[in-house]
């Protein structure tokens, strides 16, 4: 009984020092659906070793927000000079899909940068495909939807976070873009 009381005392003491913030839900975020922002450049003649996987993202700082007649100024809202996202590229190695990124990195982070002159956010990637084989490309899954991804603002500290929910073209029902390099 004495030991039990000591345990209870210890538990109460520990809990007394814990600051539990019941307000963890991040309120200052906006989620905007804006489809088809990610374009995969599919070469007409297919890929050969030495070619690049090319895909790009390009959108205005003013994007239509469902439910509103006025477009949303994502730059004024977030103050972000870039939006971040993640993508995967794998090659089939004897039946096992393995990442092609250096250091066996599972994914890479892309930065969609703000261009003040055109008031747009832009990203262009040309990843070298040095080895022949079967490849697959996908973006980081949006929560609950494997066909979509999030472009997340790197907003200023006292600004509202903007998360743009979008998708890439040419992806299959599992969110992958499969292609072969000859």
């Amino acid at each position: 009984m004495k030991t039990l009381r000591l345990y209870i005392l210890g538990l109460i003491s520990s809990l007394a020092l814990i600051s539990c913030n019941d307000d963890d839900e991040f309120y200052n975020a906006v989620y905007v659906d804006s489809p088809d922002l990610i374009k995969i450049n599919v070469p007409a003649g297919g890929y050969t070793a030495g070619d690049n996987l090319e895909f790009s993202i390009d959108f205005s700082r003013y994007i239509m927000e469902p439910g509103y007649t006025t477009p949303l100024d994502v730059y004024k809202t977030s103050g972000a000079t870039s939006f971040g996202f993640a993508y995967y590229l794998e090659r089939n190695d004897g039946g096992t899909w393995k990442t092609v990124f250096p250091n066996e990195d599972e994914f890479r982070i892309g930065d969609v940068l703000y261009v003040p002159a055109t008031e747009t956010y832009e990203f262009d990637e040309a990843y070298p495909l040095d080895e022949p084989g079967e490849y697959r490309f996908r973006l980081e899954y949006n929560d609950g939807n494997i066909l979509k991804t999030n472009l997340v603002s790197r907003n200023q500290e006292n600004k509202t976070m903007v998360s743009i929910i979008t998708n890439a073209d040419h992806i299959d029902s599992q969110g992958y873009y499969y292609f072969t390099v000859e």
Partner: protein
Amino acid sequence: MKKLALVAVFFFQFAHAQQQDSTEVVSPISLKKNEVRLDVVSLITKMRIHASYERFLNKDFSVGLSASISESNKEKKDFDENFDRTLPQYEVIPYLRYSLSKSQVSYYYVEAFASANGGKYKTKERFVEGGNGYYQAVENTYFDVALGGAVGYKLYFKDKFAVDLFVGMGKNLFNTDKSPEIVQRVGASFGYRF
């Protein structure tokens, strides 16, 4: 049957006499009806001034009143930078305690409390300027009342110095779209009984 009844009566008398003869030890503490406390741990770790007064009604029940003001720079910074939606600033807590132990020098207790609490909160609002919309966090003040419970442990030294540890929580009732949903009741106080 008559003999059995007499035996039962004598047994009861004997037991009752034993109870009367075993003198109940009254702690000097029980003669001191008032106590003041300060939550030192909250003051040091969270810059929160939390003071309490407790009145002991009898050996089982006590009532009290706590008040706190928060001056935490970290909480204020998190609120200013929009990481936290609310910034609790003050709280007044009347409470009722019931001792779970016979000892008056060290005992566990349960507590029921009400909390009148207030502070600042932020909401995300959409504005339109030049034909385009944008979002911004807007600051306001809130006030709410919570009901809740806690459990705790009290220990006395030299029949006057108290250590009081308690943990519990309450739920705001009226303005939960503005105030925090949960009010924590956590403390590690040192006090003086008189």
